[in-house]
Symmetry: C2
Subunit: 314 residues, 2 copies
């Protein structure tokens, strides 16, 4: 059973994922992922993954067979386990609990080489629907996305970074009676220097204080507290794919993460939080200074990044 442990000084929880237990040799260069080998996410290999939780199967094919366009399966090496009780316990000055939660993989497209910028727009929209459907079940705190799959992890606690963002937005609202994200959108639309693109429902922009080069946010133009499929997932799919095409063009297909920030689905609609996507191309290694201080040094001003993105010929 994985364990959640709390650092007694800074209050940071970490998952000690013993099931994935790594020995020193696993970190050597020889242990790096082999390219061109067998891929369990590819068309024809559906039977090799854990049993699918849901799938989009327009042709009515059977579960765990070829034919689906999008599949959601449990992670084969989950960082957290579904079964069990939290059993919160102390150990002297330390606090821990069992690693109970969920860890799923969303395979957006059976084509190994499809990426968010090249797959059919319908697959991007399907991916958004799958996010919404699986978060509704698990209340995920974060989803990370690499190549042609997404990961979704549901935690038994709210990470302090998430609490902080929501608390600060609430504080701003209590003070001004306006949503801070709505204020950001208003100011960005009047300045225009950091706006990358817009459509009827959404805006893509370089944030004012980005942690890393080409960090990009996509926000609904109108206030919406939680990631909701009110008929606008097609517009979101459109601006998301356009943004990924710009990133791929400007930065030559970098690895990246997309994080969904949203209010909890089971809360009432609120006026202070505004859901959005944060896209982080992984271009610079995080150096020691960032690790130690939580303070980022970014060599690319967001105004320049936005300009490169706007001018990309996609």
């Amino acid at each position: 059973m994985p364990e959640l442990r709390k650092d007694p000084v800074v209050g940071r929880w970490v998952i000690i994922s013993v099931e994935r237990g790594k020995r020193p040799a696993d970190f050597s260069l020889g242990a790096a992922a082999k390219k061109g080998g067998f891929c369990a996410f590819c068309k024809g290999n559906e039977h090799t993954t854990p049993q699918e939780i849901i799938a989009f199967r327009p042709d009515g094919s059977k579960p765990n067979t070829t034919g689906g366009t999008l599949r959601v399966v449990p992670n084969k090496f989950p960082a957290l386990q579904i079964e069990g009780h939290l059993e919160k316990t102390g150990e002297g000055i330390y606090d821990k609990m069992n690693g109970v939660g969920a860890h799923e993989v969303i395979i957006e497209n059976p084509d190994h080489n499809a990426t968010l910028s090249t797959m059919p727009l319908k697959s991007v929209e399907d991916m958004l629907w799958a996010y919404h459907y699986r978060i509704s079940d698990g209340e995920a705190a974060g989803a990370s996305l690499e190549h042609s799959h997404s990961q979704l992890i549901a935690l038994p606690i709210v990470p302090s970074q998430v609490t902080e963002e929501i608390t600060n937005a609430k504080h701003y609202y209590d003070n001004k009676e306006r949503c801070i994200f709505c204020d950001i959108i208003r100011q960005e639309l009047s300045m225009r220097t950091r706006v990358i693109s817009e459509n009827k429902g959404f805006i893509a922009l370089s944030p004012y204080a980005p942690r890393a080069p080409f960090e990009t946010w996509v926000l609904p133009q109108k206030h919406e507290s939680a990631f909701a499929p009110d008929g606008n997932f097609s517009m979101l799919a459109e601006i998301l794919q356009r943004t990924m095409k710009q990133i791929d063009k400007v930065l030559d297909y970098p690895p990246y993460n997309i994080m969904l920030h949203t209010s909890a689905f089971n809360d009432e609609v609120n006026d202070h939080y505004h859901w959005h996507l944060e896209i982080m191309p992984k271009l610079t290694k995080i150096a020691g200074f960032e690790w130690g201080s939580g303070f980022y040094i970014n060599p690319t001003p967001p105004e320049e990044a936005a300009k490169f993105m706007r001018e990309a010929k996609i």
Copy 2:
């Protein structure tokens, strides 16, 4: 002039280091550092770095010439500049100030291939003295160390992660009238599962909730609030070099960062904070989940890491 900008939602300051301004092509693989090329830190190339701030020159050689064992120079591409005023200003809902501060490089040893685990113990001790001397001048918030040099950055603000650690330690003290780090050391010495090594002045251990595999802390055994050279830098050099030898043996010379956490030197000695080093081998990439939530998944339990380190034949 570099700029410090504050994210209006989470309150995180970042440095937008325009002097280092990176264009997209600078991030491509071709732009990676060339190996085996010219090295400004090597013996014989002393005249090619910015003018040295201090150096240890036991043989009485002239500044910026060959002969010194340790040199401190300004960073050639500083993230912050020494001259200028902060000029804190607002821009609508955004806050910024000029990037005034210091950014120095400490070259511990003129030998290109010397590392902390292989250089003479005297060089490790000299490095600690140089840290202390330069922090006394600049009040650095963090120092990062890679290969055979250290970087020291002095910031005009205290990063929130640093404030949080100090506040929490103070809160613990107010509650218990004991230093939390002293309590950690006491519990670790009684359990022994996470202790790696000890000498008369210091203890090296795997922390209870490490962010990454083989994260290691070195703490003074007796309570000391600030990094101080009270005759014990030779003991610190000894345990630090031993720890680095263990890490190099177990993990095959990984890249790493060492962060010094200390109370400000100009504050009075206090009872609640306990200075220490945090060593982070860089083995796993930070994935999207960690970026988005500040929540770490660590596949190596610290009890196993400590055992591997203790049993390493160095």
